[in-house]
Amino acid sequence: MKTIPTPDVPDNLILELRRGAVVLAVLAQLRTEQYGYSLKKSLGDAGLAMDEGTLYPLLRRLESQGLLRSRWRVEDARPRRYYRLSSQGEAMLPALRAEWDGLTKAIRRVIE
């Protein structure tokens, strides 16, 4: 049987596709307090590997938007900045999740 070769999807298209979803994933993960590296690992373990150079600045941006709050803690003789959802982020998360559910259903209907 002749197989049709699957073309490689360019990185920028994948990044574009994931950009919005990543924000939701990060907010959802930060219902419990985490620092940058542990968050990267937990996202990776969940199958959502993220480039550190993108993830860490994203945390700062979300904090500046008031969706996260952070504090420094020293653990294992290393200062670490821990992030978690702010009250505004907690209020925002269910709405974002509902938006995401609606979006995935709509996309599925469109592409299937």
Binding site: E52, G53, Y56, P57, R78
Partner: protein
Amino acid sequence: MTSREAGLELIHRYVYQVGELLPSRQRDDVMAELRSLLEEGVEERARASGRLVDEDLTAAFLLEFGAPGKVAERYGGEPRYVIGPRLFPVFLLVLKISLAIIGVASLAGFLFSAMFIPQWGPAEFWHVQALLSWLLSFAKAVLVNTAILIFTFAVIEWFLPPTWRPKSEWDPRKLPPLPVEAGTERVSRAIEVVRVYGFVFLAVVLNFYPEWFGIVSFSGSGVRKIPFKDLGMYLPVPLIDLGWAMAAALSIVLIVRGRWERWSRWAEFAVGLYGAVILWLMLTQSSLDSTHATWAARQLWEGFKNQNIPFPWLARMLYIVLVVALLGTLVETGKRLYRLLRARAA
């Protein structure tokens, strides 16, 4: 240096370069977080690959992490602006301060003229012509000041490229070394920017609006200006321009390099010495006497128009200003020389 130390030193050089491209407001915080994350990331990578942290492993990790310029952009450092985020807060601050000074000085001049000049009493206080003339001159001063400020900051922004911005391909091993005296000898860019602005502003006024480089009075018949040179003050304009140009150039170099070095300390001393020589010339060559001062007072203020009374304090005041400026410059220059010689001896 052990291979581990070499790897960690590479991280410090990397973080320093990212920090150089960040707005000062968030620099220290981002640098601290980035350093912690990178060190942890490299150690985790070493554990996963069963190796020890070394320069090669760190270089490969940093290469994946991204060039300093790209990382800084993601953190909020933007590419190029007329006045970018690194300078904009300082620009706003200088704009506010300069406008406040212009406003207060202008208003004080107006009120002084209105209240203390004998023939210009309360009846004429709100004289429309005087008020309009004051408002016009104030608006002109605001416009000229803002234009000079924008121009100065745009020029500084232009000359303020990152000290090191790799192109598409880069090698972490080629990151510049950390400054030897990082932290202690870092230049306060905000102060240097203000200095450049001040020199440009003064040079523009002295060369293009020389009539404003003197004493200004607002009266019922309009704005009256007596330039210092008409009061008998010796103003070697080309020499003064040269001094301001040298001082501004030194400040721009300091802004770009971001730190003091031995040669720039000597240059600062030389500029100070040059300023003292100019002030000495101005003090010894000027003929600030009672005749000039009385003439100026009669030109400036209505109350003195028809009186032939001596008015010496204006001349004395200018002398005192020159003497104080010269002494201040000499003391400051002497302190700089002492610090340089002491550092050399150490």
